[in-house]
Symmetry: C2
Subunit: 332 residues, 2 copies
């Protein structure tokens, strides 16, 4: 019977995943009462403020199996969700993994995927608590993560005029990797930023503690994401293009393809760096403490202004009004 | 730019969903601090025990667009998750909706889908708090629901020898609908059980309060799900086939196709009724209170035994050992 066969396959799959993940640590003030194996996961927490997010990764849309190895895909499917928790200043507790696999994905493929997922889960103390498994024509991954936060989470909507605009790490590395894959020419290109983003959880927590006013993670590129934060906060900004930290891989790509390095970097995507605003005094604390405590560079790239406009200031002092489709669309 | 276009579409989609759902009630001891529109949803709760589940619905695997209307699909994609919360004795608080849509799905289709989702959300006081939206070749839906429970949730793993085995409602109605759709002959067949299951939230809460020992929802059919509960509890059962409540639609289908009605009903799927065990005294309370308080029938269909075996007792008194693939596979 179709149902039985399917069920047997599904149970075997779930057992396989459960065995590999049952000893994952669970951070924060949360105890797992029931993980994989019942109708729902059961969690006990004494923390009252919960963070909750989900992100889909679809074959053919977000990744290609002939490009990304399953271990990296496992890492990335959790990491992109943890990045959202980081952007609120919280810490993750657990994840649900919904995954659909075509028949071509062997046990070996799944094992490597789960190993990658586990590596990320272990690095950031996130338990795998359940989910759903299915057959499909293509690989479909949807991960949901639940986190907790002490005190108030840092929303997108509270940037203030006069705040400094900052980003962690460097931008455009993931996009350069993607461009190289699309061009079929990855020789000398480091694909790590594209395949294995590092969620900035420690940075997010420090930023929350030390007075960041607004924060979000960069998943669609600064040029697309900054307008979202500004719009949510009802403000505008000037971005100093000379100060945009360009990832070495992006720099290499821009140079070899005669592109403006900073424009290439801000039109990236999947950076999974944090975009942070804070008033000058708090910003100065962040600029000192984030590199010191988390070992992650933090750069000031601009300033929040009251007018609901976005300006790019080029190295020669020329200011250009920045009106991306996204920005126009969002303008209220 | 590809990214901008995609982004604009996605933002419009999210706005559309957010506008329609912003006033959904949120049950239980939970306040929504931030719903759709930030990196994560933010919830405030004074309830310490959380329930968390996710279920995927995939076009071509779980449904066909030429069979199910978008309104029913919206209802069902939330309802199947609420059924898992019901099976723990909890109440839902909110949902994340991850959805990928092909270009053929028009705004009208999406509106109907969201209306169906909202109808279910409103009926069971569940807020829509976020999720993810994408383009894909086929419709992909993954819903995650967070619930709370007062006291201890009812797990699958605590059925005791001597307990009575009970089910809510009647079985096989959804399967009969599916068979009719597969046969291309739905004349005179009520597809409601297949398209719009009713999560048994009130029943689940009553069962928890009045002493159910174990509980789960029937998503793969009694013949597949009962073995899971028995295995988790380390016990066996006898099922009295004459007492299995057969849904009128299943009865009609079995009769017109010369099938054994009870066998057809227990080999169903997507019933989304609750399977409940309780010692005789508590069972008698449940048999009285569940129909009275929740208006849902409850039937005793068997008894838990210490031996790890599953027996079907036919109306003529003959006992048949029930060894489905799933059961064999799970036997420890």
């Amino acid at each position: 019977m179709r149902l039985d066969v399917q069920l047997r396959g599904e149970s075997a799959l779930i057992e396989r995943i459960a065995q590999k993940t049952h000893d994952l640590p669970c951070a924060g003030r949360v105890a797992v009462i029931q993980g994989i194996g019942d109708d729902t996961a059961v969690l006990h927490t004494d923390c009252q403020t919960l963070l909750w997010t989900a992100d889909m990764l679809l074959e053919g849309i977000h990744f290609r199996l002939d490009w990304i190895d399953p271990h990296s895909l496992g890492w990335k499917s959790l990491a992109v969700n943890l990045s959202d928790i980081a952007a609120m200043g919280g810490e993750p507790t657990g994840a649900l993994l919904s995954i659909a696999l075509p028949r071509e994905c062997t046990g070996e493929w799944l094992d490597a995927f789960i190993e990658g997922f586990i590596e990320c889960a272990r690095a950031y103390s996130t338990a795998l608590l359940g989910g759903d498994t299915n057959r499909a024509e293509q690989v479909i991954i949807d991960v949901s993560v639940l986190g907790v936060v002490s005190g108030r989470p840092v929303l997108r909507s509270s940037a203030q005029s006069g705040d400094w605009v900052m980003v962690t790490g460097a931008l455009g590395g993931s996009r350069a990797g993607l461009e190289a894959l699309l061009a079929g020419d990855t020789a000398g290109i480091d694909l790590t930023p594209h395949f294995r983003p590092a969620p900035r959880l420690q940075v997010g927590a420090i930023a929350r503690e030390l007075g960041a006013t607004a924060m979000m993670d960069l998943s669609d590129g600064l040029a697309a994401d900054l307008p979202k934060l500004l719009r949510a906060s009802g403000v505008g900004a000037i971005v100093y293009m000379a100060q945009v930290p360009v990832h070495p891989v992006a720099l290499h790509w821009a140079q070899t393809h005669s592109l403006d390095r900073a424009l290439f970097a801000i039109a990236g995507g999947e950076d999974y760096e944090l975009l942070i605003t804070a008033p000058p005094a708090a910003a100065q604390r962040l600029l000192k403490e984030i590199p010191r405590q988390a070992g992650v560079p933090l750069s000031v790239i601009g300033e929040v202004i009251a007018a609901r406009e976005l300006w790019l200031e080029h190295p020669d002092g020329r200011r250009e009004s920045f009106a991306v489709a996204g920005w126009d669309h969002f303008t209220v």
